[in-house]
């Protein structure tokens, strides 16, 4: 048996750790189009802030590949899968045969087709270590930075570079910041917090045209900048599988065993589209925890153990200038609401199930809400009024606690 993994991030690590639980003999080849030991991509903003270092942001120890008997091939770009020969072909002409293949190719920044973008010399995306390194070099004291996109990537970038005495303006088409994870009111609260920390916003604005050092907005204002960051979103890297004849939509389509439509080819992480159990819809959930767990699921099945991962939900934990935000699930149904100006909570529920939540400020024990969503726990089995106010195990039955905390096995 020979395993090949295209990609070298969280999903790849999840797969390796799972494969090695079942198969300590066979070879694993990992290929990456980057030149680094596995590192955590979301940490690049913390790197610019000085809260981590290139050494500490390694996602696994230096000995990870040797400990797990993996052959790591860096600077290798896969360009084609030959399904009939079971081979991956690389840009440099090399090829690699596989018995089981995992596509863990992640996603790439979307570059919006805006007129004049080619005139901008100092432009960056912000998803990889090389992006962060290049951006850091370009930033000078008093640089004016324009960030296109007020989503997770754009705002974490803003926080990351804010200590460098630069001026930051964020433009977004949406009228809200973090529009993919926050409701109007929560978003307004976060925006005010960011403004208090010196970030300027031009929301509900499109960019008509770029000059080398300025952007012309839809309302005819012109924003000068020294450095441009494009953070309008990412697109799953699906072309390898799509070109090989596999089924794709926005992402690679996988089942609950992380199998693609082609035998012996699995996929995991940001390149995939999978079922969101909070809404019942298939979607791309480009989140590190899901990437690891999908990778793990793929690795288990690749190494011959039947394993299902069918509990993916959208979820995010993000801190911005000391304010913590945790969200999960889908925002539909009736609403439980608290807002004291500092701490904000909204729970969304219907049909006896919790569908989603937003917490800003106090995020303690958020995982108890996440668990209710993930497990689709019937809300009439617990004290819902209590758990809305105060997430805790007190709201569950004595029997539940006896089992989970007391190690008592319930015979039922």
């Amino acid at each position: 048996m020979k395993y090949v993994i295209i990609g070298n991030s969280a999903a790849a690590v999840g797969a390796v750790e799972a494969i090695r639980r079942n198969d300590k003999e066979s070879g694993i080849v990992i290929t990456s189009n980057e030149r680094y030991h596995v590192y955590s991509r979301p940490l690049i903003s913390y790197l610019l802030m000085g809260k981590t270092s290139e050494k500490k942001m390694k996602y696994r120890d230096d000995s990870f590949y040797t400990d797990n008997g993996c052959e790591l091939k860096l600077n290798k770009t896969a360009i084609k899968i030959d399904v009939s020969k079971k081979q991956v072909i690389f840009e440099d002409g090399d090829c690699e045969s596989y018995d089981k293949l995992l596509i863990a190719t992640g996603s790439s920044p979307f570059i919006p087709p805006i007129k004049g973008l080619e005139k901008v010399r100092n432009k960056f995306t912000f998803t990889r270590l090389d992006d962060a390194r290049a951006l850091e070099v370009a930033l000078k004291e008093n640089s004016k930075v324009l960030i296109v996109g007020a989503g997770l990537i754009g705002l974490k970038c803003a926080e990351g570079i804010s200590r460098k005495k630069v001026g930051i303006t964020c433009v977004d088409l949406s009228p809200k910041v973090l529009s993919s994870i926050l409701d109007d009111e929560g978003s307004e609260m976060v925006k005010r917090h960011l403004e208090d920390n010196g970030i300027k916003f031009c929301l509900k604005q499109n960019i008509i045209e770029f000059e080398e050092n300025s952007a012309l907005l839809g309302d005819n204002t012109r924003i000068p900048f020294d450095v441009l960051v494009l953070a309008v979103g990412v697109r799953p890297n699906i072309s390898l599988l799509k070109d090989a004849g596999g089924k794709t939509n926005r992402g690679i389509l996988i089942d609950e065993r992380c199998r693609t439509s082609i035998p012996d080819i699995y996929a995991a992480g940001d390149c995939c589209e999978s079922m969101d159990v909070s809404s019942g819809e298939a979607k791309v959930m480009a989140l590190l925890p899901n990437a690891y767990m999908q990778g793990e699921c793929a690795g288990m099945n690749m190494s011959g153990v039947d394993y299902v991962f069918d509990k993916a939900i959208p979820m995010n934990a993000i801190g911005l200038f000391g304010k913590h935000i945790i969200t999960a699930g889908t925002y539909t149904g009736d609403v439980y609401y608290e807002n004291d100006g500092v701490n904000y909570k909204k729970l969304f529920y219907s049909d006896n199930k919790l569908n989603g939540y937003i917490l800003i400020g106090n995020v303690e024990k958020a995982g108890i809400y996440t668990s209710l969503i993930r497990e689709r726990t019937p809300l009439d089995t617990l004290n819902f009024e209590l758990i809305c106010k105060k997430p805790g195990l007190m709201a569950f039955s004595k029997e539940f606690r006896a089992e989970k905390l007391g190690g008592v096995r319930n015979e039922s």
Binding site: K24, K56, R60, D61, L288, M293, E364, P391
Partner: protein, 162 residues
């Protein structure tokens, strides 16, 4: 390929059935909070309890929930499917020999573990890294002090063969 390299896969899930765990029995809990004090004392790594805790707002890794005469202590279950470890974006949370531990140096306080833990057993802290029970394995004492501090036998450290 060489056969059998050192079995040192960093995350060693499962295989927990012969390991000792902290278990609580809420019938015996007095809500005295001594487990929290013993926990804070153990993680302070001081030799003297009074000196370790005097005038300090403690940040225990085990916490009492109480309401209407019911009380019980909650701490990390060291799950066989540890969602905090699987979700950790830095690799700071790992599981080895049945114990989920945190590398404080690597943790950047993103709180993905707080988002993930179904028991609410990971807590924020003011010093960056999150707080969670490590069964006192990284203290100078070496075994769970909440158990030692419980005056009524409501917290035990036992092997139950789950």
């Amino acid at each position: 390929m060489n056969s059998a390299w050192p079995d040192k896969s960093i995350n060693d899930f499962g295989g927990d059935y012969e390991l000792k765990r902290v278990y609580v029995n809420e019938k015996w809990c007095l809500a005295c909070h001594l487990c929290e004090y013993y926990c804070a004392f153990a993680s302070s790594n001081e030799k003297d309890m009074a000196r370790a805790l005097k005038g300090i707002k403690i940040s225990p890794r085990i916490k009492i929930e109480e309401m209407d005469g019911i009380s019980f202590a909650v701490s990390c279950r060291h799950c066989s499917e540890p969602l905090c470890v699987k979700g950790c974006i830095t690799g700071a949370l790992t599981k080895a020999n049945g114990v989920v531990t945190i590398n404080k140096d690597k943790c950047i306080g993103c709180y993905t573990c707080i988002l993930s833990c179904p028991y609410g057993a990971v807590s924020p802290s003011e010093n960056g890294a999150v707080l969670k029970c490590e069964l006192c394995i990284n203290t100078h004492i070496g075994s769970p002090q909440c158990v030692k501090g419980c005056p009524n036998g409501a917290i035990v450290f036992e092997e139950r063969g789950e």
